[in-house]
Amino acid sequence: MIRVLTRNISRAPGAVWIDAYEANGGYDALKKAVSMAPDDVIKIVKDSRLRGRGGAGFPTGLKWSSVLPLEGSARPRYIACNFDEMEPGTFKDRFLVDGDPHQLVEGMIIAGWSCRADMGYIFIRDEYKITRQILKRAIAEAENKGLLGENILDSGWSYRIFVHASAGRYMAGEETGLINALEGRPAMPRSKPPYPGTSGLWGKPTVVNNVETLSCIPHIVQHGAEWFASLGKAKDAGTKIYGISGNVSRPGCWELPMGSTLHELLDLAGGMRDGFKFRAALPGGASTMFMDALQLDIPLDYDALKDAALMLGTGTAIIVDDRACPVGLLANLAMFYARESCGWCTPCREGLPWVEKLLRAIDDGDGRAGDIELLLDLIKNIGPNTYCALAAGASFPIESGIKMFKSDFEEHIAQGKCPYR
């Protein structure tokens, strides 16, 4: 089994701290990076074809190179690590940082060097209290060794990393919502352009990257772009922390080559729990489209899924079993989105609660003829008409779910009750 991001993750005592990390080659990549010109590091990241692991899959090297050039651009400049991880069904970043915090810290320092940043913020959800302690200790360890702080490794460059805990809101995981949250504002989206690389935190150039994305960086710098690109099974590069939850025997996370299949993942999870059959899956957190049993062998990577009108999202799959009522399931998803909508854009703020009400009514046996069409029409008008992508994210599982489970919807409406109860 291939282990890149998880190579240091073990239960051995002290495995998460700096001595163990350095003994296994940790911070060698940083030493290499600071001996190079920042643009050359960015070129390696570009050539590696690393794409953002937070869900959107934006090419990381391109994001880094879109930061305003240092000349003439105001300082300070920031790296913000998105460790909000509030996408339902997603727990991979916690797994990575609990097991190897220095990998993220090193990735963030290299990102800082490459983008000529002065400061880094790790925006972590409040509920990850133990993880936050681990991270703070790792940062202190790196500072004590001169890997972080003033004049890092005698390069003349200074950079600090701060940990900022959120107070809980899904929208804070959206790139510009996160920036607003760090500034002490409600996590509402900003209009783009300008993109954060031009005007982010306090109006200064800012790069926002996901935890897993940044954790890939030391390995890319250390072993090269070609090596990283070759790790993927299909077109996409690298490995991926895939995860699985629902009624499977062993829910959890695994590192696999990018482009592995749900079939492989289900095998690693020991298959379905006794008494449950596989019915469908959301492959990458709640905000993706449903896959059915016939799609289990599609490579889970950005392009292969896109070709099948699906999405990789966060890569942590939610398995739907045959005993779960699909209407209740979609009502549950709609409740999440309606509750967490920040309220900035009318279609999302007003549309999602309406969708939730309709789904609840059908689930409670109060559905009416025409409700399915009304739902699809509503959904169609939410996603494309908002500032941020989270409304579109809400529409993906609901729209694809209504289509995939249409007979269940019809049965609910015809019988005037939920056949699963």
């Binding site: 997603t90 936050r132 302690q133 805990a165 809980g168 409600p186 709640a286 739907v320 209740g328 399931l329």
Partner: protein, 177 residues
């Protein structure tokens, strides 16, 4: 004793003001520390009432309305009284699939309250929350800042008993320092 008010016209204590000022030292702007400042007050008082909100706003140079806009936006800042122990039950998809609804009804039965309510003796507040990021051990709840997973009736009873017999660990509930 640091329990006295930190200013004659303030309800915040010397201790609370000192902790808020500590947050301000590390913050690029006073506003950027506002969530941390609210958490300081919440750690001491359990929730943020109007008067405390006004004091924090003044310390940060914000209007009360601006600060309330932030306070009410975030799920984990409480603008209403809560009990001594706060239980957050995940009701998102991964937990729902493996039985979060029966976890909730077990808790409601044991505590004699509905989600969103506080027990008459002020011991427990029961709240629903979004995905807690521990779907590998679903169904999950958070009690006084501690994640408890793979919930069964037995584990729920144990957790409630433990909470009653031990004082709230402020370290765990609030910030790290």
């Amino acid at each position: 004793m640091t329990k006295g008010a930190c200013r004659r016209d303030f309800m915040l204590t010397v201790e609370e003001c000192a902790e808020i000022k500590e947050e301000l030292i590390h913050s690029p702007t006073p506003r950027a520390a506002c969530v941390d400042a609210l958490k300081v007050v919440q750690r001491h008082r359990g929730w943020i009432d109007d008067e405390a909100l006004g004091d924090v706003a003044e310390l940060l140079g914000m209007s009360s309305a601006e600060l309330d806009g932030v306070a009410t936006f975030y799920n984990l800042i409480f603008r209403q009284p809560v009990g001594e122990h706060v239980i957050l039950v995940c009701d998102s998809i991964s937990c729902w699939l493996v039985g979060s609804e029966s976890v909730l009804s077990a808790l409601e039965r044991r505590l004699g309250i509905k989600a969103g309510e506080t027990t008459a003796d002020g011991k427990f507040t029961l709240l629903l929350t979004v995905c807690l990021g521990h779907c590998d051990i679903a169904p999950v709840m958070m009690l006084d800042g501690e994640i408890i997973g793979n919930l069964t009736q037995e584990k729920i009873d144990d957790a409630l008993k433990r909470a009653l017999s031990s004082p709230v660990d402020a370290e765990n509930v609030g910030e790290d320092e």
